[in-house]
Symmetry: D3
Subunit: 168 residues, 6 copies
Amino acid sequence: MPPGPGERVAVCPGTFDPITYGHLDVIERAARLFDRVVVSVAVQSGKQPLFSVEERVALARSACEHLANVEVDEFDGLVVEHARRHGACALVKGLRVVSDFEREMQMALMNRALAEEVPTLFLMSHADHAFLSSSLVKEVGSVGGDISRFVPPAVEQALRAKFGHTGA
Amino acid sequence: MPPGPGERVAVCPGTFDPITYGHLDVIERAARLFDRVVVSVAVQSGKQPLFSVEERVALARSACEHLANVEVDEFDGLVVEHARRHGACALVKGLRVVSDFEREMQMALMNRALAEEVPTLFLMSHADHAFLSSSLVKEVGSVGGDISRFVPPAVEQALRAKFGHTGA
Amino acid sequence: MPPGPGERVAVCPGTFDPITYGHLDVIERAARLFDRVVVSVAVQSGKQPLFSVEERVALARSACEHLANVEVDEFDGLVVEHARRHGACALVKGLRVVSDFEREMQMALMNRALAEEVPTLFLMSHADHAFLSSSLVKEVGSVGGDISRFVPPAVEQALRAKFGHTGA
Amino acid sequence: MPPGPGERVAVCPGTFDPITYGHLDVIERAARLFDRVVVSVAVQSGKQPLFSVEERVALARSACEHLANVEVDEFDGLVVEHARRHGACALVKGLRVVSDFEREMQMALMNRALAEEVPTLFLMSHADHAFLSSSLVKEVGSVGGDISRFVPPAVEQALRAKFGHTGA
Amino acid sequence: MPPGPGERVAVCPGTFDPITYGHLDVIERAARLFDRVVVSVAVQSGKQPLFSVEERVALARSACEHLANVEVDEFDGLVVEHARRHGACALVKGLRVVSDFEREMQMALMNRALAEEVPTLFLMSHADHAFLSSSLVKEVGSVGGDISRFVPPAVEQALRAKFGHTGA
Amino acid sequence: MPPGPGERVAVCPGTFDPITYGHLDVIERAARLFDRVVVSVAVQSGKQPLFSVEERVALARSACEHLANVEVDEFDGLVVEHARRHGACALVKGLRVVSDFEREMQMALMNRALAEEVPTLFLMSHADHAFLSSSLVKEVGSVGGDISRFVPPAVEQALRAKFGHTGA
C-alpha cells in the first residue's frame, strides 16, 4: 500500500523466528517516529527457520496488536524492493550492544548501494535486551528454560508447543 | 522552539569541529526523514576544539544553507535536555564503519537511561566517508594535505586560515 | 555431587571437540583458584561434533588426569541448572584475544538472567593460544598438518585416527 | 597483609574516580567467590583524576562497608607487585559489554607476562550497567544530570560538591 | 613452479565463490608489489560452494587475464604447504573494514605457527568495497538484484545462469 | 633517495617512542619482502613523546643495525608524501591482535584517498607481542617493572635513564 500524502512509512525487516521483547521494543519506538510502520517477515532466511512464515507473521501480528499504526506482512526477494513498494522512507533495525553488528553494517551498506533513497536507521535496544536474540531464546526454550521474560506469552506458548514441553 | 502540531523534530548533536561531508551526508538524510532537523553544536567537548563554538556554528550553518528544514544552534549541558526543549522525537547520529562505536553506544544507552522518550537513531554513513572524521581532516589539513574532498569549501578555507597555509 | 562445607566448586562448560592446550591452560588456572573444578562437556552443541560425547569426555579426562581437584562429566540442558546441581559458585570460561567474544558475552548475560547466583568468570588465555580453537585444530588436522603443539598426545592420536592419517 | 592458611585473596584494582554501582556489582560478586577481597585504588592514573586518592579510597570504603570480607587500600607501582604483597591468587576486573575491552585484554596479557602466577579474572557486569563508567557519570554530573541511579548516595553528594550543584 | 632467481612470489588464497571486484582490487595491488602473484582457489571450504572448483578457477582466470604476472591455480590441504611449493614469500589477503576480521587474524596466527617463514600480508580493500563479499553478492543475485557493480561481467552472467535469471 | 631500477622500497612509519621487539618483528619480516625498507620516525605525534625525535631515530637505528637493507629516517608532514619522495611501493604497519585497529584502518583508508598508488600493508605481529605497545612498556618501565623481554637492551637502558631507575 503506497503512503498517503505526507505520510511517512518505515519498514522493520527481519526473520522474526520468533519475535522477542527485543524486537518489540524497537517496533514500539519506530511506531512513535513514523506515521506507519510495516513489520516485514522474510520468507527466506540464511538458516532453516523453526517457525513457518505463516507462524512467524501470526506471532508478530499478535505481539503488535496494541500498536495502532503497525502492520505485519511478509516479503521475498530484496528488502529494498519491498520497501519501495511500500513507499517507505526508511528501513529500521534494532542495534544490540552484543550483536552481529558487522553483518548489520554490511547489509546496510549493500542496501544503500542498491537503493540510495531508502536509508537504514538503527535504534539502540534497551540495555536489558542487550543479550536477547531469537536464537538464544530458542536454545534456552529447547531445554525447558524459563523464557517468559524474553518473549510475549503467545510466543512462549508456541515455543513450548514446538519443543513438546508443557507449561511449568 | 517547540514543534508545531504533528511536526516531527530531530536533533543532530555533535562537536562539529569542523563539519565534514560525512556529517552533511547524515544531516541531508535526516532532513528527508523529519519535518525539521536541528543541528546542535556542543559548546563543551572532551577535547579542546580547534574552532570556537561561534565558528563551528557558522561553518555548520553555511554547509546546511541549501537544506530548507535544517537549522543550526548550540547547546551546553545534557543533550537530552536540549532535545526536550526542542520537543524533539529523536537524536540522530552518523554511524561510520570505522568509528568510536563503543563510545556512541555508551552515550546512546546513557541518554536512554536519562530520557527514555528521546531515542537515538543511527544512520549509516556512505562507504566513501567510512574513514572520515573531523580529527583526521584536521591532521591532514595541518600538514598541508588536500582536504577538498572531505569538507565544504568554506570549511577548507577556514582550516587553511587556522593553519596558515595559502590555497594551492 | 554437592560441595562439602566451605568448599568452592567451579564448572568449566564447553563442547571440548576436542580439548586443546588452550582449554587446559584455563582449567589449570581455575584449579588453583577453586577447591574443586568440574569440566562439563555439553552433550548437544550448535554444530555436529566430530567426536561423540563419550570420546570428548574420555579425551578431557585423560588431559586432566594430572590435576587432583579436577573432574570431568557431561551435561544436557541448561548449563546453569547443571552448575546448580553441583552447588557451583561460578562458571569459568577462557577468553581468547581472538575469539567469538560477542557470543561469549551474550551467553554470560543470558546465564546471569537465568541464574543470578552463578556468575561467569573469564580467564585470559595465554598469548600463545590466542589463535587456538578446536575448530581450527580440526581443520589443520584434517589435511595432515602438525598439531602436536596445540593438543595433548592422546588427542592428537584420536584426531589422526578420525582423519585416517598415520603418524609422521 | 598475607593471607591466612588456606585463605584465598583477590585484588580488585582500579582508579575508582569515583566508585559506581557498576564497580560495586563486581566487588559484591567477587566477595562471594573469595575469602577476602581487597579493592585497590591506583594512586596514579593515565588521566588527571577528579578526586584525590584519599577521597577515592574514602568513597570506595563507604560504598563497601556492608561487605564484611572486603577492604580498601591504595597502591602505587605495578599492580602485580601489589597483588603479590597481598598474597592474592587473582586480579578481578569488571567486563562491561561496552568498554575499553582491548585495553583490558592488553593489561591482562602484560600482567600475565609480568606475573604468571596471578591471573586476571573478568566478571561480566550486569546488563543494566553495560554503559556505566566513572567518566560518563562525571560528564553527566558536571552538567547537573541525575546520577542517583549510577552511584551510591555518598558519591552523588561528593560529585555535587565538586561541581558546585546543590541537590535537586 | 619455483620462483626464478631473485623473483618474489606471493600467493592470494581464497574460496573465490565467485571472485568479486573486491578480490580483484587486492590482486591488482599485489601484482604491483610482487614479481608474480598466484591466485589460489581452495578446493575445500567450510561451506558448500555455489560454483565447482573448476568454475571458480575459470571465473578467476577470466577476471585476471589483463594482469600479466598473475596466474590462477587450485589447492587442497594446508595453504602454507601450497605457498611453500610455490616458493612464495608471502600470503596476501584483503582486509575489508567490515569483514570476518577475527577469523582472518586467527588464520594468520595459525599459519604463522605452522610456517614461520611465510607471513600473511593484509591489504586494505577500497572503501567502496567495504561491504562486498561473495556471500552477499550471491544473496542479492539469487533474488534478481543488480550485481553488475560488484562482479566482472563473466561472473554476473555465471551467477544469472546459476539462479535461472535472464539478463534485465 | 629514489629506488634503483627494479628496486622495491617500503616505508615503515611510526612514532617509535621507543622501538619495541614488536616493531622489530614487523621490520625484520618487511626486510625479507622488499629490497629496501625505510623505518620512518614521525617528528610530530598526537601525544607528547617521551623521547625526542633524535633519540627515537637513534634507538631505532641501533635496534636495526643487524638488518643490511634497513635504514632509519624521520619525517614531518603527510606520510604519503614522504613515501612518494622515497619512491616507495608500500607503507608497512604491524597489526597486533590487541591494538588500535580502527585507528589503523582509518589512517589506511585516508592514505589511500590521498595517494592511491601507495597501499598500506599490514603484517600480523607474533602472538607473543599481541599485547606489546610502546605506551604499555613506558607504563611498566616508569614504575620499575622488568621490560627486558619487550625492548632491545639499548632501549631498556634509555628508559631506565629517563625514569631514573638504576639497573636491577
